[in-house]
């Protein structure tokens, strides 16, 4: 199958099943989808429909049982762990529902941590971290520890960590799941701004339909299958 050069991520006949309490669960069932570079995609569906499994597989955090995942032109479905880690470090930014900041590091150190295993100079890492924190309007809190930040601020810090290495794709798993409506709007606006300004592909997994207005592609899932793409 020829791959469009504008395609950022493509899933071809992807299947994934796992066992839970002795029963086999078909988390992904012949999933085919394509995400173009620069798109803002929302993956939606009820709990247990396979949307988080799909995100894991698209990012190389989990491997499909069969099928291909073409990520920026490279099939990552059978890639080794170290190669996947490098792809994530260079091309993917993650935003987590529970923020996943390291409590013993300050906000700026959490943001910088992505670039510590790179050959970049420490001064350059610090410069980029400051820029990322400024972009998410959290620079005045750079020396605060996560426990000193509100939920919205923690997620802004998580977002700064996701953009410091200028990734091609940002993957967000329920990024506003633990936030109040005001913070939810701020985070989604920031994601949209990043999408518009740097042409970064954004993939958001959520069950909240009110976020649909941010997306230019909505993938609805049901029982491990792609039900519709709008």
């Amino acid at each position: 199958m020829p791959i469009d050069k504008d395609t950022m991520i493509e899933a071809i006949d992807v299947n994934k099943e796992y066992r839970r309490a002795g029963a086999i669960i078909h988390a992904l069932n012949d999933v085919n989808l394509s995400i173009k570079s620069g798109e803002f995609v929302i993956i939606q569906g009820p709990t247990g429909c396979g949307k988080s499994t799909l995100l894991n597989v698209l990012s190389g955090l989990d491997l499909p049982d069969s099928g291909k995942i073409i990520f920026d032109g490279e099939n990552i479905a059978r890639a080794k762990e170290d190669r996947l880690a490098r792809i994530r470090r260079m091309k993917v930014g993650f935003v987590f529902q529970d923020f996943n900041l390291i409590n013993t590091l300050t906000a700026i150190e959490n943001v910088e941590s992505v670039l510590w295993p790179t050959v970049l100079r420490t001064s350059e890492i610090e410069r980029r971290a400051i820029t990322a924190l400024r972009d998410v309007t959290l620079l005045d809190r750079k020396d605060h520890f996560p426990v000193q930040l509100s939920g919205g601020e923690k997620q802004k810090c998580g977002l700064a960590r996701a953009i410091i290495h200028r990734p091609r794709v940002i993957l967000a798993d329920e990024p506003t799941g633990n936030l109040d409506p005001q913070s939810e709007k701020e985070i989604m606006d920031l994601l949209k701004k990043i999408n518009n300004d740097s042409d970064t592909t954004i993939v958001v997994v959520t069950h909240r339909e009110k976020l649909n207005s941010y997306a230019n592609k909505i993938i609805k899932m049901q029982n491990g299958k792609v039900q519709s793409v709008k």
Partner: protein
């Protein structure tokens, strides 16, 4: 790059004050005692009381290092999983863990060196002032036993880091995406 990751391991160590102080204190005690019995072990061989004690201290250090590494990997599983998500390889993570463990041991070593200076000074003063009790054996610790002990301890730490590597491999990045408490 590895040095930067080690330095960050040191930062993380210093911010976990309680764990750091407990393990540093135990390492300090073990290094001090091993150094204290080193010379007599050297003279009388391992098949002596002092020799057995030295072996016990080294074995305790190995167990302690394994325990420390195990605590680090288990208690911070979510942190390591997050770092794997954002692109850290297993080697990067083991570099942080080894930075934490080696720094704790080296801190213990520096404390021992400091202690030995004071110990020697106090002993020399008491001896010159003729207030040394006859029944207390004269034991002084030289620099060579401390250096030799330190090398042995660092070797033991490296052994424990190698043993814990499998546990780091088992931390799956996907854990970071699970909800807290899930």
């Amino acid at each position: 790059m590895v040095i930067r990751i080690w330095k960050k391991g040191v930062t993380l160590t210093l911010r976990e004050k309680r764990t750091f102080m407990i393990f540093t204190s135990i390492y300090t005690l073990l290094i001090f005692l091993t150094s204290l019995f080193w010379e007599s072990t050297w003279n009388q061989g391992l098949a002596s009381l002092q020799g057995y004690l030295v072996l016990i201290f080294l074995f305790t250090s190995l167990i302690l290092s394994l325990l420390y590494a195990w605590i680090l990997v288990s208690r911070k599983r979510r942190d390591w999983a997050t770092l794997k998500c954002i692109g850290y390889t297993n080697k990067n993570i083991i570099a942080i863990v080894s930075g934490i463990i080696l720094f704790t041991t080296l801190t213990g070593l520096f404390i021992v060196i400091e202690l030995v200076f004071h110990y020697t000074a106090i002993y020399s003063y008491l001896y010159s002032a003729d207030i040394i009790f006859e029944d207390i054996p004269r034991i002084l610790i030289g620099l060579v036993p401390i250096i030799a002990t330190s090398f042995l301890f660092i070797f033991v730490q490296l052994l424990s880091i190698a043993l814990i590597y499998r546990k780091v491999l088992k931390v799956r990045p996907i854990i970071a995406l699970k909800r807290v408490g899930e």
